[in-house]
């Protein structure tokens, strides 16, 4: 192992290229730990949200969650994100089979679905602003809502940038032992974002609609 | 619970500890010289926990000293290698189990007292409507850096000096007008935070001896946190009743006899009334209520209440309490006018009852309501003490 060629070569990849090197294993494990921390982060935000849900004090604009949320759009958003999680699974499936082109194709679809989700979210937020004056500063409920959903949205943006950067960087040289772990953990991140959204959909929107 | 503690306290260690600790501090500040129901309960627990802990410390330190003396490497032993012991299951079990037992012993009274101290529903416990009506609630509001006390349904408001009757649970509802403060009268009871907004707290205080007790703000609240002192003036029930009825009479319209003070009153009404109320004010004022200012134990909780100090305060409150809300929010009067206002403020003595009545040994029973005779009043009181003692035993 006196040169780096074998790490950067696209030939003769092992079955699980993402975990074949020590660096890859470390990244894989470290990222799981990181996601553990992220879980606490979102748990704290969920806790804050639940404590401040529909809490307006003397705020001027006070639309309770039942009137605020419309489930149709949110349902579409959920579908976008859930599907994108599935497509990223396909991408990783092809990575394990060393089919770089198909992996890129499915990653591309994942990114498109993510963008669609983001577009919906931006529309949703502007809708709340124009129709209900429900903003980050309008009340404690507003602050808590945008902090939680906004943090998730920021994660989506970061995840998209990350996946796109990886795709662009490696478009020409294909899969190797060096970039396989990078692809793999970016897809882990994407799954995590998806799981968080499932909770947001349930806790914020469904429970918000019910009461 | 008290009887149980009484027996417990006779234990030598507890007795010695109590003797040692009760020498500590000023009798009107120290938590170690309890003169209230809550403080006594906290103190009892302190003694139990301290006794257990002293026991633990003695054992550990004894082992420690033996080890340090016996097992030092002496000259010529440099090459000696002691036996490499891995552990000992018996020993390890012992020092796991014994602490568990000790903590269980401690946990039981902890939980009991936690619930006992959280009693804040006197109306629900009252036997009849009359007793329920007798319950005294005081709404305490903390603001940077002073205290407001409103006697609920009695139309009495005061600041800084909190008058309470002795030998009776007085219920306080604690809230804040700005940041979080904490209401603490160490000699009478442990502390409770005053939170802004919806998170209001309730607790009871019960002074068992007359006296003028120091109260502190115990939650850091800004520059003058350390100067946010107040006094609890615990007077006998009769004196308290008189104080309440005197305070109910007080009004901002009463004109003082002295001409200088009368001029001061005019100035006060012109410039100070916007923030400082005299007489009962239903809402918490911008500044402290000054109804009984002339009888205040201290000026602003910290200085001697003299004309000189009052004038200084009016001219430059910042030099007394940095960061107070008054500085910069009023037109500073001339020194002469300030003197007149001070003169007026010192005449505000609506009641005969003052801090001195808490210091004398005179104990006046509450006037019996309606036709009941004094003897009867005494018996009812005894009964109620017995009852509460019984209640406590039941809780055990």
């Amino acid at each position: 192992m006196s040169t780096h060629e074998d790490v950067l070569s696209s030939e003769n990849l092992p079955h699980e290229p993402e975990k074949a090197t020590l660096e890859g294993k470390n990244k894989f494990l470290g990222f799981w730990f990181f996601l553990g921390g992220e879980t606490v982060l979102f748990a704290s935000l969920f806790g804050t949200y639940l404590a401040l849900k529909n809490s307006f004090g003397n705020a001027e604009h006070a639309t309770p969650s039942q009137e605020l949320f419309g489930l149709e759009l949110v349902f579409i958003m959920t579908m976008f994100l859930l599907t994108s999680s599935l497509t990223s699974v396909y991408a990783m499936y092809h990575m394990k089979n060393h089919d770089f082109k198909k992996m890129m194709l499915w990653l591309g679809i994942t990114v498109l679905l993510g963008l669609a989700f983001l577009a919906c979210e931006i529309y949703e937020f502007t809708h709340y602003y124009h129709e209900f004056h429900h903003t980050f500063t309008s009340s404690a409920f507003g602050s808590a809502f945008y902090a939680l959903v906004g943090f998730h949205g920021a994660h989506v943006v970061f995840g998209l940038c990350w996946i796109v950067a990886l795709m662009v960087r490696n478009a020409r040289r294909g899969l190797n032992l060096y970039n396989a772990p990078k692809f793999y953990i970016s897809s882990l991140y994407w799954h995590f974002i998806d799981v968080v959204w499932v909770f947001i959909f349930t806790v914020v929107y469904l429970m918000g609609k019910v009461g | 619970m008290k009887g149980w503690m009484g027996r417990f306290r006779t234990l030598f260690l507890l007795g010695a500890l109590a003797l040692f600790l009760s020498g500590c501090g000023n009798p009107y500040v120290s938590a170690l010289q309890p003169k209230g129901e809550g403080a006594q309960m906290s103190y009892d627990l302190m003694l139990i926990s301290l006794a257990i802990m002293v026991l633990v410390v003695i054992v550990v330190v004894a082992i420690f000293v033996i080890v340090m003396v016996r097992f030092r490497q002496k000259k010529g032993q440099e090459d000696y290698i002691p036996k490499q012991v891995e552990g000992n299951h018996v020993l390890e079990t012992i020092w796991t189990v014994i602490p568990i037992i000790l903590l269980l012993i401690l946990a039981v009274p902890t939980v009991q007292y936690t619930f006992a101290l959280a009693e804040t529903e006197p109306e629900a416990q009252a036997e009849d409507a009359e007793e329920a009506e007798d319950v005294l609630w005081i709404d305490v509001t903390a603001k940077q850096f002073w205290w407001n006390f409103s006697y609920r349904d009695l139309n009495v408001t005061t600041s800084q000096d909190l008058y309470i009757p002795t030998d009776k649970r007085v219920y306080v509802k604690l809230s804040s007008g700005d940041v979080i403060h904490s209401f603490w009268v160490p000699t009478i009871s442990g502390k409770m935070d005053t939170n802004p907004g919806k998170n209001e707290n309730e607790m009871f205080i019960n002074a068992t001896e007359e006296g003028v007790y120091w109260g502190h703000c115990a939650e850091f609240c800004g520059p003058s946190h350390s100067l946010m002192e107040f006094r609890v003036i615990a007077v006998s029930p009769g004196e308290f009743d008189q104080w309440i009825s005197d305070m109910q009479e007080a009004s901002a319209e009463d004109t003082p006899a002295d001409t200088v003070a009368a001029e001061g009153q005019a100035l006060f009404q012109q410039s100070c009334m916007a923030c400082h109320a005299i007489g009962a004010s239903p809402a918490v004022g911008v500044g402290p209520n000054l109804t009984s200012f002339g009888t205040r134990e201290t000026l602003a909780g910290i200085e001697e209440n003299t004309k000189e100090n009052i004038v200084k305060w009016i001219l430059d409150p910042e030099s007394f309490k940095p960061g107070n809300e008054m500085t910069g929010n009023y037109v500073v009067p001339s020194k002469e006018d300030a003197g007149k206002i001070a003169e007026y403020l010192l005449t505000l003595q609506p009641s005969e009852i003052g801090p001195d009545d808490a210091r004398d040994n005179e104990y006046i029973q509450a006037e019996p309501k309606e036709e009941e005779g004094e003897g009867e009043e005494n018996t009812t009181e005894e009964e109620s003490t017995e009852e509460s003692a019984e209640e406590e035993t039941n809780e055990q």
Binding site: N26, G30, N58, A140 | C24, L45, R72, P82, T110, G190
Partner: protein
């Protein structure tokens, strides 16, 4: 690579080397210097506090300034002194103890350090930019929201940046310990310091995100008009207390567990005995960490949570005394039957036991909720946590630094001076804090700028101040010792204390790849086993071969610098639009560097077998 070339280099290249280093040993030195600097700063702040409280109604410093000083004392000591100093020891020792050539994420390790440093600098810049934070290290809302000026903004942004660094450091340690142990180094053969590093890192991982969120909310409220803590707009200030203590209580264990680890290394070495009850020590460590997450609300007994919550948290808190007690007895029994050498590291460790014991028993007393109504926010609490944090953590750090100083810097600190430091610091410590228990019980609340006459607080406070200065003297002696040893101390080459663990099997100075051949570990106290059953040297687990090492990089520094600049921009955004330039520049630097890191291949380099054999010949 070799030491010979290192000596020839000028100041500029040494500086560049440290700015770009990813070597855990050099990062350890950086942490030590950074943490040490902030420790001195926090100490000066402590002396100011004690001077102000020396007399009743003293007006040496103003109320506002006093509040800034004690806020910064607490914040600095916890986040910028104690944690970095422990990180210094973890970085210096842990990889060597498990027989690793490096940490799992050298780049992230460096990033963690630079984030801590820039966060700390940002926080302390507040002194020169209109006043430091003044809401206490706990920064309870809404006081922290209403606090005028930018002080609390510096607190929020500074801690946020250094908090990211801590989180990354924690993840790095975790992965290193899981994946990079030498052959034969099973979990139950790991030295206790490695174990406590592992457990403390788990705590960091799960506790710090709560602080991150808390600080975000604080920042949003102060700088972006959010209403989380504003009661009139529906906000709830108690959320801050919960978030802060969900982080804050595990934080105590993040600090104390590594200190426990240090003592568990030193006591066996200087008693010449294996650690008594190793497995129960490991078990106790894990149990403390686990319980540490369910007791946060014992900081809030007086908040008004009601008797049910208070009782639950009281009993849960008491439970922590059990594993801690197990540890104390294990240490005592390790010494029992041993041959104790009272060197300075051992003095600190021995003194730790009774000192920490007092902090521990007052901890149980504080758990008794109804009694805590009296203790809470009084000097009793101040005494308690200083007994735990100074008597535990600071003693541990000083013990560890003296013990591992030769490993890090190739010289043993002057023993005589070290013992002077010990005796002055130890005496000063008890003089300062023991009396504070009584001050609290006598009714003195904490965070008081001054106290009125006539409450009988005078004597206690005066004694306390004298003690504080004695601690100051001890620290000055330590500084003098460090300078003296660096200038004229004798070099040591290997294992000065007759150590038992792997780090002492290495030559001093340790080569940057640590182990030429990875060692084979045959049991707990790997080196001791070889000393008593072998020839005193570790058995290699592999033939000499090429060693793969990471490349240096300036990116961690730039990423942190970017966040620092952006942080300043965020703070001043409300004052001037020009601040947006800083925000943009900062984030471009940060995210730009991250992008560079992501797209640029960084495969590290190899040290060739032939060079290793040559160097090996030189050393022998």
């Amino acid at each position: 690579m070799s030491t010979a070339t290192a000596k020839k280099r000028g100041f500029g290249s040494v500086l560049w080397d440290y700015l770009t280093t990813v070597d855990h040993k050099k990062i350890a030195s950086l942490y030590l210097i950074g943490g040490g600097f902030f420790f001195l700063l926090g100490g000066l702040e402590a002396l100011l506090i004690r001077l102000q409280l020396m007399y009743p109604e003293n007006a040496l410093i103003g109320a506002q300034f006093y509040n800034e000083v004690f806020t910064m004392h607490g914040t600095t000591m916890i986040f910028l002194a104690a944690m970095p100093l422990l990180f210094a020891l973890m970085n210096a020792v842990m990889p060597l103890q498990i027989g690793a050539r490096d940490v799992a994420f050298p780049f992230i390790n460096a990033l963690g350090f630079w984030l801590f440093l820039f966060g700390g600098i940002l926080l302390n810049l507040s002194w020169f930019l209109g006043g430091a934070p003044d809401a206490g290290w706990t920064s309870y809302a809404p006081l922290s929201i209403y606090s005028p000026g930018h002080g609390v903004d510096f607190y929020a942004i500074g801690l946020q940046i250094s908090g990211f660094g801590t989180l990354m450091g924690g993840i790095n340690f975790l992965v290193t310990i899981v994946t990079m142990r030498a052959p034969g180094m099973t979990y139950m053969r790991m030295p206790l310091f490695t174990w406590t590093t592992f457990v403390a890192s788990v705590l960091i991982l799960f506790a710090f995100p709560a602080l991150t969120v808390g600080i975000f909310l604080l920042t949003f409220d102060r700088l972006f008009g959010a209403q989380f803590f504003e009661a009139t707009m529906g906000g709830n200030e108690i959320i801050w207390e919960h978030l802060f203590w969900i982080f804050g209580h595990p934080e105590v264990y993040i600090l104390i567990l590594p200190a426990f680890g240090i003592f568990s290394e030193i006591i066996p070495v200087f008693s010449k005995k294996r650690l008594f009850g190793y497995s129960s020590m490991v078990f106790a460590t894990v149990l403390i960490a686990f319980l540490g997450f369910m007791v946060w609300a014992h900081h809030m007994f007086t908040t008004g949570m009601g008797p049910v919550a208070n009782s639950i948290f009281a009993v849960a808190t008491m439970a922590i005394a059990i594993p801690t007690g197990i540890k104390i007895f294990n240490w005592l029994l390790t010494m029992w039957g041993g041959k104790i050498r009272l060197t300075s590291p051992m003095l600190w460790s021995a003194a730790f036991i009774p000192s920490f014991l007092l902090g521990g028993v007052t901890g149980v007393m504080l758990a008794v909720a109804p009694a805590d109504f009296q203790y809470h926010d009084s000097y009793f609490v101040v005494a308690h946590f200083h007994y735990v944090i100074v008597g535990g953590v600071v003693f541990g750090i000083l013990a560890g630094v003296t013990y591992w100083w030769p490993l890090m810097f190739g010289k043993v600190l002057d023993e005589k001076l070290s013992k002077w430091t010990f005796w002055t610091f130890f005496t000063g410590f008890h003089l300062t804090f023991f009396i504070q228990h009584f001050l609290g019980l006598m009714g003195m609340p904490r965070r008081y700028w001054t106290y009125l006459e006539g409450q009988e607080f005078e004597t206690g406070n005066f004694i306390s101040t004298i003690g504080a200065f004695l601690m100051g003297v001890g620290t000055i002696i330590l500084l003098y010792n460090i300078i003296k040893t660096s200038v004229s101390g004798e070099k040591c080459t290997r294992d000065p204390w007759d150590g038992r663990t792997l780090e002492w099997s290495l030559p001093i100075p340790t080569p940057h790849y640590n182990f030429k051949q990875l060692p084979l570990v045959r049991g707990l106290d790997a080196l001791w086993i070889e000393k008593t059953q072998g020839n005193g040297k570790m058995i290699p687990a592999e033939p000499v071969d090429d060693i793969h090492m990471p490349n240096n990089s300036i990116l961690p520094f730039v990423i942190s610098l970017g966040l620092f600049i952006a942080g300043l921009g965020v703070i001043y955004r409300v004052d001037s639009n020009a601040a947006y330039i800083a925000i943009i520049v900062g984030f471009v630097l940060t995210f730009g560097s991250m992008l560079v890191r992501s797209v640029k291949d960084d495969l590290g380099h190899h040290i060739h077998k032939e060079d290793l054999e040559k160097e090996g010949a030189e050393v022998e």
